[in-house]
């Protein structure tokens, strides 16, 4: 564009040449030449040769932080308690909250919103001074009973009991209990069986398994 205008000006100036007009013409020619130079530099610069439209863009929407359980409610057993997240201690034992009124969700296991695996929640059956806890009622769970777990996003997840087991601690099939595979389900665990006063521990675990229905 600048080049075309400059060319037109040159023609007009040439048509009525005078000493002053020649000087002006020279200035215009210089100006045009510098514009042409700049255009040439631009042309030398290599394009990357990549069309933005051809660049694939992916977004992994499946990677989300686990939504921890905040509450477990088992109406037929009178259980309605808060849940906190726990890990394992240096002896590979699941850490149980001190209070008999607080259950612990194994944080390296499946969260309730997960589409597979076991959501494991455990609580003390009883404790010195505190007495008997709500989870003591797990042994009375009936097949088909309903359990609801609420998570940190406010979502309620509903399960139905499919099995109630009492297993000596040394025989608990930990790989099955803590599985990350299979249909999403809930596993509630507490202690039971005979009590060893010297060891201050029970002999067995009660394990209630409930399949996810919604």
């Amino acid at each position: 564009m600048a080049t075309a205008l400059a060319a037109t000006s040159l023609l007009l100036l040439g048509a009525c040449a005078s000493a002053d007009a020649n000087e002006t013409a020279a200035a215009v020619i210089e100006d045009v030449e510098s514009h042409v130079e700049q255009a040439e530099v631009g042309a030398d610069r290599q394009s990357l040769g990549i069309s933005p439209i051809d660049i694939p863009i992916a977004r992994d929407v499946d990677s989300v932080l686990a939504l921890a359980p905040t509450r477990v409610v088992f109406p037929s057993l009178g259980i309605d308690m808060e849940v906190t997240d726990v890990g394992v201690d240096s002896d590979n034992l699941l850490i149980i909250p001190e209070s008999i009124y607080t259950a612990g969700w194994y944080r390296a296991g499946s969260a309730p919103a997960s589409d597979r695996g076991a959501t494991v929640i455990s609580a003390h059956v009883d404790m010195p001074i505190q007495g008997v806890g709500p989870f003591a009622a797990l042994r009375d769970a009936e097949i088909g009973a309903e359990v609801t777990v609420r998570d940190a996003a406010g979502e309620s997840h509903v399960y139905r009991v499919i099995s109630v087991e009492r297993i000596p601690k040394a025989e608990v099939p930990v790989d099955r209990v803590f599985t990350r595979a299979g249909q999403p389900h809930l596993v509630l665990i507490t202690c039971g069986g005979s009590f060893d006063v010297n060891a201050q521990s029970y002999s067995d675990n009660y394990i209630v398994t409930a399949e996810k229905v919604s």
Binding site: D60, D62, S63, R180, A181
Partner: protein, 264 residues
């Protein structure tokens, strides 16, 4: 910058990708809360690039490239939030250039060389990269401390593990309380799953999360198309696989532990 970048990532020799004249370059948007446009050598290549997005692979020959990241729609490149020259040191590499916050919360670019060496059958590659505005972290896998400890912003690590679902979190170095996570990470057969810790832990903890990039997904298959993590499949800690997992992870510097229900 190029050779130094390779050295810090700790690769002995670059793996050779398919293309001998160029390298595969990915651009990862690891800054929560900002939609941006990305210019390379003055050309806008990415528009309305959102957090979590991974662009690429783009094939680029070895050389220096000026990368400018601006707010989406901003045309004044002098106002770029990030304006850096990144070097592709050689052809045949796979590199993820990540826009993220440094330890002080300043937006920067960090190139990570992706390990494209062969992965054994039945395994996938887990990569962890600290790209969050946070101090050094320890990485936990299935609630066990791994060999990745004291990882600073810009640091990373890779390990090959058996196919399965793992729970991962990062804690402040020396602590075992999750600072980001836990989150489930899916390790698929032959796939490199790269977990980026992102966000600003001090200024806005709600932004702290993980972004995932996967390299090596079988073309045209839905997520998990290998069928190895279908229900009933031998994934995770089930039966005899537990012993194999422990041996493998111990060798890689990760301590694996089976959980046992507590007494009482």
């Amino acid at each position: 910058m190029g050779v130094a970048a390779l050295a810090t990532v700790g690769l002995a020799a670059p793996a050779v990708a398919d293309n001998h004249d160029t390298s595969d370059i990915y651009v990862v948007h690891g800054i929560p809360g900002r939609t941006v446009d990305v210019y390379v050598d003055g050309e806008r290549l990415l528009q309305n690039f959102e957090p979590r997005d991974v662009a690429g692979p783009v094939e680029l020959p070895a050389g220096d490239y000026q990368i400018q990241v601006v707010a989406a729609g901003e045309t004044d490149l002098s106002a770029a939030a990030i304006d850096e020259v990144e070097t592709v040191p050689a052809a045949g590499l796979s590199i993820s250039i990540v826009a993220h916050l440094d330890a002080d919360g300043t937006p920067v670019l960090t190139p990570f060389v992706n390990d494209t060496s062969e992965i054994a059958e039945g395994e996938g590659r887990l990569s962890v990269r600290h790209t969050a505005a946070a101090p050094a972290v320890d990485v936990f896998l299935d609630d066990a401390l791994t060999g990745f400890q004291g990882v600073e912003n810009g640091g990373d690590g890779d390990v090959d593990v058996p196919v399965g679902t793992y729970s991962a979190f990062v804690a402040a170095a020396g602590s075992d309380e999750p600072a980001i996570g836990p989150a489930d990470v899916e390790i698929r057969n032959g796939v490199n799953t790269i977990v980026y810790a992102v966000g600003d832990l001090s200024a806005d903890p709600s932004t702290a999360t993980f972004y995932i990039q996967t390299i090596g997904e079988p073309a045209g298959s839905p997520a998990g198309g290998a069928g190895l993590v279908a229900e009933g499949a031998n994934s995770g800690l089930i039966g005899g696989a537990a012993a194999l997992l422990i041996a493998l992870l111990a060798g890689a510097g990760i301590i694996a532990r089976r959980t046992v229900v507590a007494s009482k």
